[in-house]
Every structure is written in C-alpha cells, then in structure tokens.
C-alpha cells in the first residue's frame, strides 16, 4: 500500500517536473512546479517523514511556489509569458545535467540498502533533540547565515530615494 503510494507520488513528481520545463506558458510552468513540490512532500509522507512532509508543504508549496507565481503575474501580460523552449546553450545545459545526474546516482548507490521506516514513530521529537541538542551549533550558524542573506537582500533591493510623487504610489 505504502509502496503503491510512493510510486504514484514519484510519478506525479517526475511528470510535473517535466511539465515545468515543457510548458510554453510561464504560469503553467509555475503551477506545475507547485505540483512537483507537493509531490515531493507526498513522497516524504509515504516514507513516514511526517515533519518533513508538513514543512515541505508549508515552505515550498505555500511559500516558494506562491512567490514564483507572484513574480510570473507581475512580469507582464499573458501573451508575453510564452517563451522559446530552446536557446543556444542547450549543449552546456545537457552536460551540466549529465554531471548532476552522475553525482546523484553515486549518492543513491551509497544508500541503496537503506530501507525507510514504514508507518513508524513520529519524527518531530527526535528532530528537535538533534537540532537543539547535538547539532545546535551548526543549526545556529545556518540561522545566522540566513539572517545575513535576508539583511543583504533588503539592503541591495532598497531603491534610491524616490521622487515625491512616486513615493506614495502603490501598485497593488
């Protein structure tokens, strides 16, 4: 039963990932990305990683996918959203993909015999013990780096002082 769910969800993930690349309309690609991320969350759930499942949906489907949709909506009229599928860099892209695929295959090979717990115990408490206990220092360091990135993004995206009439203009 869990295996069936896993394979169905994996198929959904892969097909929607293909859709992200193949749809001609940028908004359809963005929606497909949302479905793909939700499929990944489903794969987590079928491997009984409950906390990862919920946070994947919360952050990627509810946050990142929505932000990407937002960008696509702001980026112009519907007719301008259709882009070419292929440009001159396709060979380089293919090579990069091949290298990445090789790397992933090697990583998978190292964990080939590991079987995920089926319908196992909830993972939240163990995760919390690890993150706030043994791994507290790396956890805090990553938080610090993220905070620095956040502050940096705010500083770089801060516009020059705008003239008075546009200062109070509001697009939304």
């Amino acid at each position: 039963m869990a295996e069936l769910a896993f394979y169905c969800l994996a198929a959904v993930t892969l097909l929607s990932a293909l859709g992200v690349v193949l749809f001609r309309n940028a908004l359809h690609s963005a929606l497909s990305l949302g479905l793909c991320l939700a499929g990944v969350a489903g794969v987590f759930a079928s491997l009984s990683a409950d906390f990862l499942f919920a946070s994947q949906i919360l952050i990627y489907v509810g946050g990142v996918a929505v932000l990407i949709l937002f960008v696509v909506l702001l980026s112009g009229r519907a007719s301008e959203l259709r882009m070419r599928q292929v440009n001159g860099q396709w060979l380089a892209a293919l090579l990069v993909c091949a290298v990445l695929l090789q790397g992933m295959l090697r990583t998978i090979a190292a964990y080939r015999d590991v079987v995920a717990g089926q319908g196992g115990a909830p993972t939240t408490q163990n995760l919390a013990r690890l993150l706030l206990g043994d791994q507290a220092l790396p956890f805090e360091l990553i938080s610090l780096i993220l905070l620095a990135a956040l502050a940096g993004a705010v500083i770089f995206s801060k516009p020059d002082p705008a003239p008075e009439e546009t200062k109070h203009g509001c697009l939304l």
């Binding site: 929606l31 906390f51 949906i57 929505v66 932000l67 937002f70 909506l73 939240t124």
Partner: protein
C-alpha cells in the same frame, strides 16, 4: 429700558410615553403586515424588555440553549458511540470473513465522510447566521420568509439557485486553469480538517504534526486564488489575485508565529496533546486554558484572531475581493457552483480558524467550570467554536475595509514583531 416681564413659561410638556402602534393589516385580504416592528432597537434601547416579543425571544433562546444542553448530555461523549459503531462494523465484517484491511478502509471512509459533511453542511447554517447577524447589526430583519421560521431555509434555496445557474467561462480565460482554480481552493480547506479534535478522542486523523499540517495544507489555497485571478483574463481579477497572494502569504507568518507560545507550553504539535495540556483548573475555578496565561496568552490569541480574519479574506481584510473597487476580485468571472466553491472554502476556513482558536486557546472540549463537566466535551467545543465564529461575523459587519498599504504595514510592522516578542515572553515564562 426694562424688559417686560415675560410670562412664566409653562414647563415643557413631557412627551407622551411611546405607545406601541397598533398592528397594521392589509386592507385587501386582512393579512398581518406589521406587528410591532416599527419600534426597533434604536427606539427601544433604553428598555428593550418593554417589548413583549423581546421577552418572548429571550425566553425562547434560553429554552433552546437549555434544550441543546439537555440533548447533548443525553447523547454523552460521541467517542463512545464511535467505538460502538466500530465494534459493530468489525464484528459484522469478521462474520462475513472479510480481511481486516477492508474494515480499516470502511472505517476510514466513514471518518472522511463525516469530516467532509461537517465542511459542506456548516456553510448552510453559517451563511444564514451571518445574514441574520448582519441584518440585526444594521437594524434590519434579514431573511424571514423561506422555510417559515426566521427564513431558516434561505441558504438551502440559495444553494439550489447556485446549482441551477449557468456556468460561464469567459472567452479570454485560460480554460483549464480557470476550471481547476475552485478545486485547488476548496480541496485543501477540506483536507485541513483531518486532524481537528472535535472533542475528547474525536479526531479523524490524530497525527503527530497536526498543527503544522493544518497551517501547511491551508496555505495551499493561495495558489488556487492566484490561479483564479490569472486565468479569468480580467484585470480586476488579476489585481485581486495579486493582492490576495501578497496578503495571505504575509498574514500566514504572524498567524503561525502566534501559536508558537502555545506549542512551547504544550510541548507538542499534536492537537490532542495541546488540549490535554490545558486540562485542570487554577484554584479549582479558573481553567488552565492558554488564553488565561497572563499577557502571553491574550497577546497570542489576539494576533491569531486578527491574522485568521485576514487569512479568510473577510472584511476588514477583504482587499482581494473589495467589491467596490475590484468588482469582486479573483472570483469576478465565476458563477454557479464554481463561485459557490470559493464561498464554501471561505466559510470552511472561518470554521477551521474557530476550531483552531478553541483548540489552541480555549481548552478544546474542557468545561469552563468543573461543575459543568456533565455536558460532553464536543458540545463545549462546538459552543466555543461558534462563539469565535460569531466574533468573525461581528467584525465583518462593524469594521470598514483597510487600505492596501496600511494592511501590509499593520502586518509587517505591528503583528509580526509582536508575535516574535510574544515568543520571547513565552520563553521567559517557561524559564521562570
């Protein structure tokens, strides 16, 4: 020159005490047109009890509440009946020689159907209640005719009307996205009800990351709203979709962070455990609900309530719909059942927010006084949730709409910092 002495003015005559007008009848057929409704709260505010119908209504309301409490007490804990049903089902299936998987499947199906119908049927009541409350806030009567008693069947009639309406898709619309959008909005609203604990041992799926799951799944609906806004091929809808994406993603943050103190106190994401952590009474009187934790509890509850109103796109946060400036926002181009799916999702989220407020802050199914423990937990839970729903409806009909930039300022510069500060307060509380 001396003023001629004015004749002493007679004391101003007291206005005659208001007499209730005689009933008005239709001269043609003699039907009663108006009984005593010409004097409505604004006239009678000083002494509403003088109105016979007011006294009658108060007695009726008290009788209804007492009757409901009596019925609830008679029924007892629903989880007991659920166990009985499960035993009967298992016995029946074992007798027929089915494998245990079938029993589990049927039982899951029953639970799914119950939760589904809670979501689908509750708007029938909530819409009627909302119309009545809005009417009484605006000194109107609201629906009075359909069904006889105070227009109770009005929403059912409206639902049938919506079912029969023509389903229009604009020619410029992106057909598939337009068609899928209501589904993407509604499906997460139903999914999010799975871990809600309706009372003692009453939840469809008692999952360990329940609170996180609810917030995560409820967040998916934003995508549906953006899809609806974009696929309609209409600038007002697009603006509505954009505003909605910005607003919902923003208000999700203080909403999630406001319950972090609750999670810290309870030490779990599981809704059942959160309810258990609120059991008991201080000094035998004040319940140990999280809303009664000094400062932290009230602050968290206020932020949660405000952010929940914003998450459900309701006035005063209905900028994505804003019918007076955006025609109707993201659902302008929807009609019939597709429109009503958006409506269903809105009411489902109102209900979900109320259930969550009752679970996180009002002690779930715990009675407010130990003496009242004889009324079962699901009745208390429902009472608390409906009280929060009433707040939602009340806000909608008393506050004016926010301006867009103020809406965002309010979230990012007020709610979010205070929800962070509240987490710090909760940490201090726990350390101390």
């Amino acid at each position: 020159m001396s003023q001629p002495e004015a004749a002493p003015k007679p004391a101003p005559a007291k206005p005659a005490p208001a007499k209730y007008p005689d009933p008005v009848y239709n001269t043609q057929n003699g039907r009663l047109l108006m009984r005593d409704t010409r004097y409505w709260p604004t006239d009678l505010w000083k002494n509403p009890w003088a109105l016979p119908s007011y006294r009658k209504a108060a007695v009726l309301l008290a009788a209804l509440l007492l009757g409901a409490a009596a019925i609830a007490t008679g029924v007892g804990e629903l989880s007991r009946w659920g166990d009985l049903l499960k035993q009967t089902l298992d016995g029946f299936l074992d007798g027929k020689g089915f494998p245990t998987l079938v029993g589990a499947g049927v039982w899951t199906l029953i639970k799914v159907l119950i939760v589904l119908h809670i979501v689908i049927i509750s708007p029938i009541f909530l819409v009627w209640w909302e119309r009545k409350i809005s009417a009484h806030i605006q000194t109107r009567l609201g629906p009075m005719n359909v069904g006889g008693w105070h227009g109770w069947a009005q929403t059912i009639a409206d639902g049938i009307k919506l079912l029969l309406k023509e389903d229009v898709t604009p020619t410029v619309a992106d057909r598939w996205v337009h068609r899928l959008a209501p589904v993407v909005v509604t499906a997460p609203a139903i999914l999010a009800f799975a871990p809600v604990t309706f009372g003692q041992d009453l939840s469809a799926a008692d999952i360990d990351v329940g609170a996180l799951y609810i917030f995560a799944v409820a967040g998916i609906s934003v995508i549906g709203i953006v899809m609806a806004g974009w696929a309609s091929g209409n600038k007002y809808s697009l603006l509505g979709g954009l505003r909605s994406a910005a607003q919902l993603v923003s208000y999700e943050l203080p909403r999630s962070f406001s319950i972090v103190p609750v999670l810290m106190f309870a030490g779990s994401l599981n809704l059942t455990r959160i309810v258990q952590a609120q059991a008991g009474y201080w000094g035998g009187i004040v319940p140990r609900w999280f809303i009664f934790y000094p400062v932290v509890g009230q602050l968290a509850f206020t932020i949660f309530l405000i952010a929940s109103v914003a998450e459900t796109n309701r006035i005063p946060f209905d900028i994505p719909e804003a019918e007076s400036e955006l025609v109707g926002g993201f659902h302008t181009e929807y009609s019939g059942m597709k429109f009503s799916l958006f409506f269903l999702a809105e009411y489902a989220y109102v209900l979900l927010a109320s259930f969550l407020a009752a679970t996180f802050f009002l002690g779930g199914g715990a009675p407010p006084l130990p003496v009242l423990g004889f009324i079962p937990s699901w009745a208390w839970f429902l009472t608390k949730a409906l009280a929060v729903v009433f707040c939602f409806l009340w806000f909608r009909w008393t506050f004016p709409r926010f301006r867009v930039d103020r809406l965002m300022d309010f979230n990012w510069k007020f709610l979010l910092p205070w929800s962070f500060a509240n987490i710090a307060f909760a940490g201090l509380y726990l350390l101390w």
